[in-house]
Amino acid sequence: MNEIASVKKNKFKISSIIIYTFLAILVVFYVAPLLWMLFVSFKTNSEVFDSPFGLPKALQLDNYKVAWTAGKLGVATLNSVLVCIITLVISMIIGSMAAFAIGRMKWFLSEYTMVYFLMGMMIPIHCVLIPLFIKFSNYHLTNSLWGLILPYITFSLPLTIYIMAGFFKGMPQELFEAACIDGCSIYRIFFSIALPLAKTGMFVTGLMTFVSNWNELLLAMVFISDTNKKTLPVTLTYFVSPYSTNYVQMFAAIIIAILPTIVVYCLFSNQIVAGLTAGAVKG
């Protein structure tokens, strides 16, 4: 009996060693490119080729300074932050209002409205690019941050509405009845009872919205040509080119561009995962 147990234990150990080695190799595979980039961003251009895999001899902070000013990443970061925050706030408000009407209120079109919004998840942004570009240039919305914010809000709405409607549906009926008896209007019920209770949902959807809009490239590239209005991914795309030779500054620029999302991810990875799974269930 004892023998069997020890054999089983051994077998278990070997298999778990194999699994852990495999997982560890994958970690290297995932982290190494990012670390390499980090190291290169602190090197000098000649160091990149003399000691490609070593640690930087001295931290060349100038790389970041140049990227920030000459590469115009400073302006771009500000634009990105502005666009993301405004989009976040507005899509949150509009989205949860619609979600409340769909998830909680009683009317015969609510199901269809939900389907209408969810259709937005299926439609690729590329398909509306040309008409939007034409329309927006007529209204002077190209080369303006609002021209980005409006479509960003629209494309954030399906996920927001889907997740928030789930939250509102899950709230106990008694809560609303009590509020109703106390003479709350429907607007008051929404803004001071339902909305504060759906905080977790708002947080989760907010993170998803932030991440996807922070990374969006195509729309921003098409709509914005004024250098002072470009968002971070666009500025990066123009600043960094494999054919120019100032490698270290470009690497610094890439680091600057992804750092905010890394920070957000480290702080809130659990909520981001929750948002992903909640949003994907419907597909």
Binding site: W36, R104, M105, P131, T237, F251
Partner: protein, 295 residues
């Protein structure tokens, strides 16, 4: 109570901003794209209805379109297969691992939240002629290929490289979704199977696989549609080059529409893309029958 929840005015108030925005920015433009795709229209002229001429040109005369279509479909198949395989493998391995599960999980998922524009640039340096991988190969005395410039073969090397990077970036998402699904399976099912003498592999085949079937449909359509829409990585790694050999549908649309300003023609590409997305979704939805099990 009921009366308050049926308040028409309030419903309109809540729903109106979303509906208006959606109609203006999504529904009307989609219809316009549809119309424009039947028009001959560039930046200098006004739209002129020409019927199916754009589509005819797309599928018979446009060589780049053929390349883009081929690349997009290759890209979709490669992403779907590789991400399904590795995503599921990682999810199963990680649910069986106790220590360090969260750390592993978070590391594998990290690239998904980063900008593919930035990561595309990073990988274009990794596969640069003089840097990255070729520096590693140099250590072993091998001179590496021109990863992103090679043009030999039916599916050229740069497409494999881009697909590989896409796999690197997005496998974490599939893994995450599978993990969520697997963790919803009740532990007692597994216990019962072990008592009945099933091994780990058997319980995986007979319990895990059937129960994650709904997630297969979801992740598969996410993989497929995500890779059909792909723009950032391709644009930043090769910009469609060399000589449009790595164009995918999205980059082809971008170049036709916003470098050559052929609006009508680009709209037709957009419609092809949309039809492709819808077809794939429908095939997946119809192809994977979901049986209801009790979890």
């Amino acid at each position: 109570m009921d009366k308050i929840l049926r308040d028409k005015k309030a419903i309109c108030f809540f729903i109106a901003p979303g509906i208006i925005l959606f109609t203006l920015i999504l529904l009307i433009p989609i219809c316009q794209t549809f119309y424009y795709s039947f028009c001959d229209w560039d930046v200098l002229s006004s739209p002129e209805f020409v019927g199916f001429a754009n589509f005819k040109k797309l599928f018979t005369k446009d060589k780049t379109m053929m390349i883009a279509l081929k690349n997009s479909i290759f890209f979709m198949l490669f992403s779907a297969v590789s991400q399904q395989f590795f995503g599921l493998l990682l999810a199963v391995l990680l649910t069986n691992v106790k220590r360090g599960r969260n750390i592993f999980k978070n590391i594998y998922y990290l690239p998904c939240v980063l900008s593919s524009a930035a990561l595309g640039l990073l990988w274009s340096f990794m596969f640069n002629q003089k840097m990255g991988f070729n520096q590693i190969l140099d250590v072993f005395g091998i001179s590496g290929p021109m990863w992103l410039m090679d043009t030999k073969g039916f599916i050229i090397l740069p497409m494999w490289v881009i697909s590989f990077v896409a796999m690197w970036q997005y496998t974490g998402q599939t893994m995450m979704l599978y993990m969520a699904q697997i963790s919803g399976i009740s532990e007692s099912l597994y216990e019962a199977s072990y008592i009945d003498g099933a091994g780990k592999f058997q319980s995986f085949k007979c319990i895990t696989l059937p129960l994650i079937k709904p997630m297969v449909a979801t992740t598969l359509s996410l993989n497929a549609i995500g890779s059909l829409k792909f723009f950032d990585l391709v644009y930043n790694m090769t910009a469609g080059g060399p000589n449009h050999r790595t164009d995918v549908l999205a980059t082809h649309l971008y170049f036709e529409g916003f470098q050559y300003f052929k609006y009508g023609y680009a709209s037709a590409i957009g419609i092809v893309l949309l039809v492709l997305c819808l077809t794939v979704t429908i095939i997946i939805k119809k192809g994977i029958k979901i049986d209801d099990y009790e979890m």
